[in-house]
């Protein structure tokens, strides 16, 4: 069994465990959610169904490439199911996720020596506003003259939202050699 095959198996096992209701911590391996999350950060994911995910939350979903975490910017309820529009924080690309692909949501993250609490009411509100603004910018992106402006505005919105959440909804982690201490 090659290392890649082993990693694929481990990922599928973790996804199965999430679907079975077990929360887990994962290490971030891409920069698609910068500035909110960077490579090496640890995120805590709790199991959730598509119907439970709110706009502005960072959802965890299954793709052919493995488990991905991106922000949900809007939802669409059909007669039989719900689908969610996901967007990375780093650009204005978006794609729909089908209900069955959703496995959970990011509850918190250890980012630059701080624990960010995404379930904090301020973080929830901030995430929602950020997501709605970016969705509007995404819709205007189709208009060529507005494309560059939309991208810049999107970056500004993400950056502002991130700073606000980091400022209001995070706790500093002070570590000594033996014991981690969490400080408000």
């Amino acid at each position: 069994m090659s290392k890649a095959q082993e990693n694929n198996i481990i990922t599928s096992l973790y996804i199965e465990a999430l679907r079975a209701g077990h929360p887990f911590s994962f290490r971030v391996v891409s920069n698609s959610m910068i500035p909110t999350l960077s490579i090496g950060d640890h995120v805590y994911i709790e199991p959730a169904k598509a119907k439970e995910i709110r706009v502005g939350e960072i959802a965890a979903f299954e793709t052919p490439l493995g488990l991905v975490i991106h922000r949900i910017v809007t939802t669409q309820q059909t007669e039989t199911s719900v689908r969610l529009l996901q967007m990375a924080d780093v650009d204005l690309q978006a794609s729909w996720i089908e209900e069955h692909a959703i496995v959970g949501r990011v509850i918190s993250a250890c980012h630059q020596n701080r624990i960010i609490h995404f379930q904090h009411p301020v973080a929830q509100r901030c995430g929602k506003i950020t997501a709605r603004l970016r969705y509007q910018l995404y819709l205007r992106k189709a208009n060529k003259p507005l494309r560059v402006i939309s991208r810049h505005c999107s970056r500004w919105v993400v950056r502002s939202g991130y700073l606000w959440i980091r400022c209001r909804c995070s706790t500093k982690v002070i570590t000594d050699e033996t014991t981690p201490i969490y400080q408000q």
Binding site: M1, Q5, E6, I9, I10, S12, L13, Y14, E16, A17, A20, H22, F24, S25
Partner: protein, 93 residues
């Protein structure tokens, strides 16, 4: 009769298994012998069945197979990969 911990998730590829214990968040890799033993820990096979299967599959003496099996059981017990010993008495009244 021993049985694998039912909460442990596992997949097999090319005769080797990868295990995930969701409660501990730990993963384990089993080699071909370990995988065969793991698959036979279904509650329907006795330790004698397992020893016999190892001997046949890997062409080793039953003593060697027994030793390897006991060693793996010990490690599995330590990592709580076995169901709390559901040992049935060897003799019946």
């Amino acid at each position: 009769m021993l049985k694998r911990n039912g909460t442990v998730l596992w997949r097999e590829l090319d005769g080797e298994a990868v295990l995930l214990d969701p409660a501990e968040g730990c993963t384990y890799n089993l080699n071909r012998v370990g995988t065969l033993i793991w698959k036979l820990l279904d509650g329907n096979h006795t330790t004698d069945d397992i020893v016999s299967a190892i001997s046949q599959e890997f062409e080793v003496e039953p003593e060697q197979a027994m030793q390897d099996m006991e060693h793996l059981f010990e490690e599995m017990r330590q990592h709580k990969l076995l169901q709390s010993d559901v040992s049935l008495p060897n003799t019946t009244a």
